[in-house]
């Protein structure tokens, strides 16, 4: 068996792209990826949990607005994890930001930065979870 390569120090700000067919797999897969990259970004547990909450919202709501696959670009930095969700069809970003009953908008509550932008291929929601230290 080939020896596993010696892990190098984490390289920050290298993006990981993930695309998952809408359905029950989005949640388990996104939670794993977000959790691992949040840990790599040295986010404390509470911030890691918040990042995973964002992943859950994406998993629950993005499917109807994702043509073919729910796509997320994740970029960890020192104490920060950026998530860019899209492309989404019109209304998709707003759907992710919608309030939950008795809770409000989960993403707006936990994220430190939120931005919606539109490109030729659709809407994108950018969410950043940051630990200020």
């Amino acid at each position: 068996m080939t020896d596993a390569p010696t892990p190098t120090a984490p390289r920050l700000e290298e993006a990981t792209d993930i695309a998952v067919t809408p359905g029950p797999l989005v949640g388990p897969v996104l939670r794993r990826v977000v959790g691992m990259l949040a840990a790599r970004a040295n986010l404390p547990l509470d911030k890691l949990d918040e990042a995973v909450l964002v992943a859950d919202v994406i998993a629950q709501r993005a499917g109807p607005y994702a043509a073919g696959a729910v796509q997320v670009r994740l970029t960890p930095g020192e104490g920060t994890l950026a998530m860019r969700i899209g492309p989404l069809s019109t209304g998709g970003a707003q759907a992710l930001l919608e309030e939950a009953p008795d809770v409000g908008s989960i993403i707006l509550k936990v994220a430190d930065e939120v931005q919606v932008d539109t490109a030729d291929d659709g809407e994108f929601l950018s969410v950043c979870v940051t630990y200020a230290g």
């Binding site: 068996m1 080939t2 390569p5 792209d17 029950p24």
Partner: protein, 163 residues
């Protein structure tokens, strides 16, 4: 890799050198929406990313009902394929690693692709070898192809139950 690569192991029908056209991978930046596959990952070929791929693919295998020993097989084979990319595909500067996974009634198919210098599969499984016999032992089948005419694509197929 040469055209029409030879069988890796002539005595093992599970490992073929048949060329196939991998879908869903591109040398261009970003991720194309996968057509038939369930999950697609595009990341930098570094050691720590192999851990991430292993975790995601293992999670996928669990989610579609693979028994734990079979999940372990999938994890190990995918780890081997990705480690080969990290160690051999790029000379110096880590490049791109594409992993896609597709589930169906018959099991799980995982494709690992790089855009590097390509590999010459070998039966040599000694120290520093490519571990192809290991992948062949764990997967129902292993196929090799070229990525965009240059790098290497490995397709691993897993039945739900070990053969």
């Amino acid at each position: 890799m040469q055209d029409g690569p030879a069988l890796i192991d002539g005595s093992s029908p599970r490992v073929t050198g048949r060329r196939f056209e991998p879908g869903g991978v591109s040398a261009a930046g970003g991720v194309r929406p996968p057509a038939p596959c369930d999950v697609q990952l595009t990341l930098t070929a570094r050691a720590e990313q192999v851990v991430l791929v292993r975790s995601v693919i293992g999670s996928l295998a669990e989610s579609i009902g693979f028994a734990e020993p079979r999940v372990d097989d999938v994890r190990l084979a995918v780890t081997e394929a990705c480690t080969n990319v990290v160690r051999h595909a790029y000379d110096g500067v880590p490049g791109r690693l594409d992993v896609s996974a597709s589930s169906g009634d018959d099991g799980l198919t995982i494709t690992v692709a790089d855009h590097g210098r390509g590999l010459r599969p070998s039966l040599d499984s000694g120290p520093g070898g490519l571990g192809l016999p290991l992948m062949a032992a764990l997967a129902a089948s292993v196929e090799f192809g070229q990525t965009d005419g240059r790098g290497t694509t490995v397709r691993l197929s897993f039945a739900r139950a070990a053969e």
